[in-house]
């Protein structure tokens, strides 16, 4: 399936992905209104992870075997068998945040104001997810994993870098 991947060697931690994610998930879809009028503000579903000069944004991986879905107490989290997209049904979510603890990427954001778990939905209303479309230096890509050269992006087993 198509996922959002980041290139840590290109990311400069500008945070625009977070801004545009928030806007894309706001009522108005307007950057000024989303920040100034809509309270409480929508949390961004993508978070820039940073340490010194190293940075990369991270959002839901839409895992093949999603811990969050299997940990969900209410049935609000589901993985679509066709598209593979992991979604949270806000109606069913009670904000217990078991999914927040279950996700090894901490890609599920606890929205304490609304008492709902929120996460990347790959922007179903847009052709390209807002974070990817608005990244100024193409540190984010939306792909099924195979780059034009045929190599896997962000290959499996990303564990310790040492």
């Amino acid at each position: 399936m198509k996922r959002v991947y980041s290139k840590e060697e290109v990311c400069i931690a500008c945070g625009l992905c977070q801004v545009h994610c928030l806007v894309a998930h706001s009522e108005s879809k307007d950057i000024i209104k989303a920040y100034k009028k809509e309270t409480p503000r929508q949390p961004s579903r993508i978070k820039v992870q940073q340490k010194g000069s190293l940075s990369f944004p991270l959002s839901c991986r839409h895992c093949e075997e999603p811990w969050c879905v299997y940990s969900c107490l209410t049935g609000a989290l589901q993985k679509d068998p066709e598209s593979g997209i992991v979604t949270v049904d806000a109606e069913k979510c009670v904000g217990c945040f078991t999914c927040v603890v279950a996700c090894p990427c901490s890609a599920i954001i606890p929205d304490f104001h609304r008492k709902k778990a929120v996460k990347c939905d790959l922007c179903p209303h847009l052709e390209t997810p807002a974070c990817v479309a608005n990244c100024p230096n193409q540190a984010l890509i939306f792909t099924d994993g195979a780059t034009p050269g045929g190599t896997k992006v962000a290959a499996e087993g990303a564990v310790a870098r040492r």
């Binding site: 940990s71 904000g95 945040f97 603890v101 090894p104 901490s106 606890p110 087993g157 990303a158």
Partner: protein, 430 residues
Amino acid sequence: MVRKHFRYLIIGNSAGGIGAAEAIRETDKEGSLAILSDEPYHTYSRPLISEYLAGERTIEGIYFRPADFYKQKSVQAILGKKAAALDLAGRLVRLESGEELTWERLLLACGGKPIVPPMKGDGLEGRFNFITLNDARKLRPALKKAKEAVVIGGGLIGISLTEALVKSRIKVTIVEKMGRVLGAIVDANVSRLEEARLKKAGVKVVTGHTVQEVVASAERPEAVGGVVLDNGQEITCQILGVAVGVSPRGELVEGTDIKKGRGIVVDRHMATSHPDVFACGDAAEAYDFVYGVARLTPIWPNAYIGGRVAGFNMAGKKAVYPGGTVMNSLGYFGLPIASAGLFDPPEGNGYEALSHLEGETYRKVILKDGRIAGMAMVSDIGRAGIIFGLMREGVNVSSFKEALLSDEFSLPRCQMTCGREGSARNWLHR
């Protein structure tokens, strides 16, 4: 006598049973599959009975899967019927109604039953358990007349019940045998923070004592009027909630060859000592990666994942249980708490505890030989998943252990590269 045959029979209609049914149907679309439960309801979320009790959700509102779930998955739901006996040689389950169900693969996902401490005078109207939807349905009408309640047990279920009672404007006293609330899952610092929240909400917390006697009401001798504690203290109440915990329902395997400790013992494939009988959830003792042995870890996610693994194996697709430990995320009385594994390091043996407490913000990790054996976070739980992930994967964190408690804690801090595709790949089938 009615006898029906199923390729797959699942006893239990909650997390474990549903996890198994979904995995079976991902693998085998045709094999006949039945779910048997003594509860008459469509699959629902047990942790949500407090929301139902408080009137915040309807019964349909706590359904764990859509109303057409059984139809969609071609599952025959046999609800409101209780298994009376298991005959391994005949591969059949006899129901109390006299019907018999034969099976080729059986899953015991029958959960736990409430532990009720012995109390003099018990048996009066107004004394409730709080495990099932039926418990909540019986309790709901009592809320209208009651002014005071005593909840026995200051654990998860007790505090969950307390919250629903407080929302219904009932004055609650929690009586907890241990010295502090949530004592089975968090350390003393977290207990103190939760107790402060409880007291702020007007809840009285009595620790270190037990209820010795249930006293009848003066006006209605058939109903609860109060309790007497082991120190002689009397507390008036019209509702007595028992929320001490659950013990595995293992009655069906008693007298059979299936191995049972405190729960039904299963291997990493969730198979019992009988190769075609599987077990999961609160009824089972399954692998705990913190302790390195099979033990009871009665939490919802472990039941679902255990059920999923069992389901694949029942349908002939090999899957391995990654192991589960006790992990919880709580938000009672507005205090977010995430906890997993050990909460206090055992004496010696190379354990180390790191913690930081500031106001209501708390972070703690327990390390054993460089690996995380326990964690707790209060208030700021946003990064709890990364730490729990490192714990589950057994990553050696020695070189960045201080960063685990830092405000800016993030993946690069723990030397993880971008993507984390490692965790996105299929970890069940190995």
